[in-house]
């Protein structure tokens, strides 16, 4: 039986259509659901996806308002029960503001303390919004996280955000960033990225994607949903993906799977392991 994934659309989400396409492209049933649908309805889904965008116009802070909505009560409960949940860009910001990732400690009210934050981008030469294709490589938790398991080579992916710098002032958060990074920014040939633009935001430990302790939740800042087809890969890109793009001639070749699908294949493998 095909697993069902809810793509939760908040006011201001703008990546739900390509996210739905990615989910269906790896053999899952996807459905776009509003944030204020009845909880009973949302609770019937097997997995959840929080798409990119600008929920509530990023008022106060990116993800700050959406993280406090009642629908996140459901997502916290399901995350703690092991349900796969993927948040991309603004979805990642919401998960971080909620405390689902790193999610290692329990708060008094049943929610998790907010141990890390996604701060405004900062580097020696650039602050604020930045978009470019960059490379992601495995972090310490790559095989613990269901979405990144098995990724070993640099994976090109577009990044497009203004607040993507993983930081923490608490020892617990620092430890989580060090040990629960599923994907980090790397150079095209694999070494860790340490400066702009390969490290676009100054993120601690080069973290691009942070998972929870159980590995069933991933908050990922770059956009795999914008790298579904080879045609979307820029032809100037170094490495094997760039070479494939430059050599592709036919429509069928250009429509072949892109690098971003690796993340969504992990989603499918977690939800229906027999079907992958």
């Amino acid at each position: 039986m095909t697993a069902n994934v809810a793509v939760i659309r908040f006011p201001g989400s703008n990546c739900e259509s390509e996210s739905l396409e990615a989910i269906e492209r790896v053999g899952l049933n996807g459905k776009i659901m509003r944030w204020n649908e009845p909880v009973d309805l949302l609770d019937q889904f097997d997995g959840f996806f929080l798409p990119g965008g600008f929920s509530y116009q990023d008022r106060i802070r990116a993800g700050a308002v959406a993280a406090r909505l009642p629908v996140l009560d459901l997502l916290i409960r399901r995350a703690d029960a092991g349900t796969p949940i993927l948040g991309i860009c603004n979805g990642a910001q919401i998960l971080v503001e909620t405390g689902i990732v790193p999610g290692n400690r329990d708060g008094a009210d049943g929610a998790h303390p907010v141990d890390v934050a996604l701060a405004p981008n900062r580097s020696e030469v650039h602050e604020g919004y930045f978009t470019r294709w960059l490379f992601l490589g495995p972090g310490p938790a790559v095989d613990r996280c269901v979405f990144t398991r098995g990724i070993s080579e640099p994976l090109p992916m577009p990044t497009a955000h203004a607040e993507g710098r993983f930081v923490s002032r608490d020892p617990e958060g620092q430890e989580a960033l060090q040990s629960q990074t599923g994907l980090r920014y790397v150079l095209s040939d694999g070494p860790p990225a340490e400066a702009f633009p390969a490290l676009p935001n100054g993120s601690s430990f080069g973290t691009a994607g942070l998972t929870n302790a159980a590995g069933n939740v991933l908050a990922l800042m770059p956009h795999p949903d914008r790298a579904l087809r080879l045609a979307q890969v820029p032809d100037w890109l170094p490495g094997p993906w760039g070479e494939s793009r430059r050599s592709a001639r036919s429509f069928a070749e250009l429509e072949a799977d892109g690098p971003g699908l690796a993340i969504f294949r992990g989603f499918a493998a977690a939800l229906q392991p027999e079907g992958v």
Partner: protein
């Protein structure tokens, strides 16, 4: 953890900018605090201003020599800058209110509204020196040196030594309470501890100060990067 120091500057400029119309962020913050953080009618009003503090070099030798290097020498440069700036504020949509401080007194020595904003009545409420409001000043440690891109390097012959930017949220309450209670309310609604506790300050990269009553002039907030 990055540490933040407060160095009182002898001469400081504080700029507060607020929309002439409705502030969507303040409206959303008010609604979120009331409905999702459980404050309800306890929070009567919440307003927000963008905030910038510019600390100037002391230049005490010049001032002591009676060469007219006091605040009055800053005003022409400041007036010209505020009137012409295109990145500090948008006079079509915003009001700009400025306080100047000279010496060690925490009160402002002088204050004025930009020429453009002066045409409007009710330009500055809630003022940073208002007694009826409690204030929350927020600044980003890592962006302490961020400044308006056209900010001059000096005013009235005194060089700019430090720039800090952030937001000021101001609160009025639905019921009377003493200062310590009001301070605890601001702390509770402001500092993020979990999704049900705090909203306005992300403590992993922002610092804040709470003032029940007027905000001191010339806070002298200094971050390691500034």
């Amino acid at each position: 953890m990055e540490s933040v120091t407060h160095t009182k500057s002898a001469v400081a400029i504080q700029v507060a900018i607020s929309p002439k119309g409705l502030d969507a962020t303040a409206i959303t913050a008010t609604d979120t605090v009331r409905r999702l953080l459980g404050f309800g009618d306890r929070l009567r009003q919440l307003r927000r201003q963008r905030w910038l503090e510019v600390s100037l070099s002391d230049d005490s030798e010049l001032a002591g020599a009676g060469q007219g290097r006091g605040i009055e020498s800053i005003l022409p440069d400041l007036d010209a800058y505020v009137g012409q700036s295109f990145s500090l504020w948008n006079p079509n949509k915003e009001r700009c209110w400025i306080r100047l401080k000279e010496g060690k007194d925490e009160r402002a020595s002088a204050e004025f509204v930009s020429n453009v904003g002066r045409r409007d009545a009710g330009w500055g409420d809630p003022r940073l020196d208002g007694d009826r409001w409690d204030h929350l000043v927020i600044w980003d440690v890592a962006r302490g040196s961020a400044r308006a891109s056209d900010l001059p390097s000096s005013f009235g012959g005194r060089s700019v030594v430090r720039v800090t930017s952030g937001d000021v949220y101001s609160f009025r309450w639905g019921s009377a309470a003493d200062e310590s209670t009001r301070r605890s309310w601001v702390e509770e609604l402001a500092v993020v501890r979990g999704r049900g506790h705090g909203l306005l300050v992300q403590p992993h990269y922002q610092d804040h100060a709470i003032y029940c009553g007027p905000v001191p002039s010339g806070l002298g907030v200094e971050s390691p990067q500034s």
